[in-house]
């Protein structure tokens, strides 16, 4: 019998982490994601699974606690919202540079600066384009429902450990705050310290006689070696682009126009597809589930089929740049979006389509 619960997106994240057998969560309160830490604290995961929860003194400290835990081969995560993610970027680039697996949740709010606590998608750049210094990528998963918030925790950990790379769940204030039905998975066992040592021979689990000391670092002062290391990272990102692209298509079979949207915007666009089709406009939706790696190939294929694409985002237009790069000017691509915490209405999106293309 499947266990169903009515949960907030933020609560689903926390429950999923406990059930996935995560070892630790380190976070700092910020709206609209404080329920993650609150849920953890109320659930006492120390008693349920032995999972460690700690409220850090800042986002900076929290991400560095993640670095320490991830360096030990432990399954660790943190969460925050946009201004807090900006603070975490230092730690994230070090984690990427040290090739450590971890999971980071961003429940995006509008910016810049303190901005607003309302939902936005204006952190696409700082999530998908690195965010911190240096040439690195995160695996970026974009949930569009509370169920996906839950499911992407385990998926995120799986991909993070597979590639020894930080993974991010890029959500927004709407999905974090809204309540939906969630199918809860089974409780997975946490790895024992012995299992961690065996499974992750690179981790700082304590040097023993069988191996050299393990060093977790992102430093190499030798330029030749540093370039070689960067090439290794790029090869890893290339492999992700080949193997890990995930997306969903809605009514693209006969589409003459295409919405490209993720997360909350994709839910709006699903309705917009229905409204437009009632008007006789054949439009479909491509919803990237992984924002990195981005579904470039599929977009290029669809560029040969449709007359135009609209990247619908709750931002000034960020993902639209990747859509344009993907289709290489073979089809007109425009952006439509609202900013500052405003979610576009399905009608607005259809109007934008009609104004530009019809």
């Amino acid at each position: 019998m499947k266990e169903l619960r009515l949960m907030k997106g933020n609560e689903a994240i926390a429950e999923a982490a406990i059930r996935a057998g995560a070892d630790g969560y380190f976070g700092y309160p910020i709206t609209p994601q404080s329920e993650v830490l609150e849920y953890f604290m109320a659930e006492k995961p120390e008693e349920r699974t032995g999972m460690v929860i700690l409220q850090a003194e800042s986002e900076v400290a929290a991400i560095n606690m993640i670095y320490g835990g991830a360096g030990c081969g432990k399954k660790v995560m943190t969460s925050s919202s946009s201004p807090g993610i900006s603070l975490k970027q230092e730690g994230i680039t070090y984690i990427a540079g040290a090739e450590l697996p971890c999971l980071i949740l961003n429940v995006v709010r509008g910016g810049p600066g303190l901005g607003t606590i309302q939902p936005a998608q204006s952190d696409y750049f700082q999530s998908v384009k690195g965010g911190g210094h240096g040439d690195y990528k995160l695996i970026v998963l974009a949930p569009a429902s509370v169920q996906e918030m839950y499911d992407f925790v385990e998926l995120g950990f799986e991909l993070a450990f597979k590639y020894r790379n930080p993974a991010m769940i890029l959500s927004d204030g709407a999905i974090g705050q809204m309540m939906e039905k969630v199918e809860i998975g089974e409780q997975k066992k946490r790895l024992t310290d012995k299992e961690v040592k065996e499974k992750y021979p690179w981790a700082t689990t304590g040097k023993d006689d069988n191996r050299e000391r393990n060093i977790i670092t992102s430093l190499d002062l030798d330029s030749v070696k540093q370039e070689q290391f960067n090439q290794k990272l790029q090869a890893k990102y290339q492999e992700m682009e080949e193997k890990e692209v995930r997306f969903e298509e809605i009514q693209t079979e006969d589409a003459e126009y295409l919405f490209v949207a993720y997360g909350t915007s994709s839910r709006i666009c699903e309705k917009s597809v229905q409204l437009a089709r009632k008007k006789g406009i054949k439009v479909g939706l491509l919803r990237p589930i992984t924002l990195f790696p981005f579904p470039k190939k599929r977009l290029m294929e669809l560029a040969g089929q449709v007359k135009g694409m609209i990247s619908v985002e709750m931002s000034a237009g960020q993902m639209v740049e990747d859509v344009k790069l993907a289709v290489e000017h073979t089809v007109p691509v425009i952006h439509f979006g609202r900013m500052g915490g405003i979610i576009p209405s399905p009608d607005e999106v259809v109007e934008a389509l009609e104004q530009k293309f019809l």
Partner: protein, 259 residues
């Protein structure tokens, strides 16, 4: 003329009076001749060897002169971003509560950019050891003013001496963390003479023993020199340290647990 000949006859087990700890690697130290880091590293590793906890020890290196500490200390180590070592150590210790976890940090790392991480790790009473090497200057980046640079002391960013009206006062962070309920043992040591090094080692041993007893945070400051940054010979630097640093940063225990 018998030059550079070695009398191998004296190399016998019974004549052995000193041996480098096995937990210091044979890598050539990058530290300037005369610097105190080498001695401080050795003392930490001697304590780990004597306690027989190499397999249970995880160290955290800082950003600064000792950024490459992991090249010399033969234990598992993590390299932190500037100032974040106590946060890494918190993550490590929380997830491996039975391991011995230490950070090794300089003054810029611990008392400027990492002040928040230092104070909060201390205040939470993380069961770790913080080793704080204070030489009053940024050595690695070329001798800039540090949070612990003395009033009037010259550096490349206080070339006419630290003017406390303009540049603020040196931070006695060791006295500050001693006020926090989470610190169990706080001490200030030096390593410029054999006697001082012996005392410092005792303090380090106590700090690691405290972890075993799960007593909370032990904080060991080592006041040291920077002859390159201070632009002095090693001997002059040590003398300058005794004459100027020690009066401002007096050696000795600052917070000792009640037995």
């Amino acid at each position: 003329m018998a030059e550079n000949t070695v009398n191998n006859d004296i190399i016998k087990e019974e004549n052995l009076v000193y041996q480098k700890t096995k937990l210091m690697t044979d890598n050539v130290l990058h530290y300037c001749p005369g610097c105190g880091h080498g001695t401080a590293h050795r003392l930490v590793m001697e304590v780990v060897e004597e306690m027989d906890i190499q397999t249970e020890t995880i160290g955290v290196a800082p950003v600064g002169c000792s950024v490459l500490a992991y090249n010399y200390m033969d234990v598992d180590m993590q390299e932190a971003a500037h100032g974040r070592a106590p946060a890494l150590a918190t993550g490590i210790k929380r997830l491996f509560p039975d391991k011995f976890v230490f950070t090794y940090q300089g003054d810029g790392d611990l008392a400027a950019i990492g002040t928040a991480e230092t104070i909060h790790a201390c205040n939470r009473g993380e069961n770790i050891t913080i080793i704080f090497v204070n030489n009053g200057i940024y050595g690695m980046t070329g001798g800039q003013m540090a949070p612990t640079t003395l009033p009037g002391m010259k550096s490349s960013t206080s070339p006419y001496g630290r003017d406390t009206k303009l540049m603020g006062n040196p931070l006695k962070i060791t006295e500050l963390v001693a006020q926090l309920p989470g610190t169990y043992f706080v001490t200030r040591q030096a390593v410029h003479t054999p006697a001082a090094a012996r005392k410092a080692k005792k303090a380090l041993r106590k700090a690691f023993e405290n972890q075993k007893l799960k007593k909370g945070l032990s904080f060991v400051e080592i006041v040291s020199n920077c002859n390159s940054g201070w632009k002095m010979t090693p001997n002059d630097a040590n003398q300058w340290m005794v004459d100027n640093m020690f009066p401002f940063y007096p050696l000795g225990d600052i917070k000792v647990p009640e037995e």
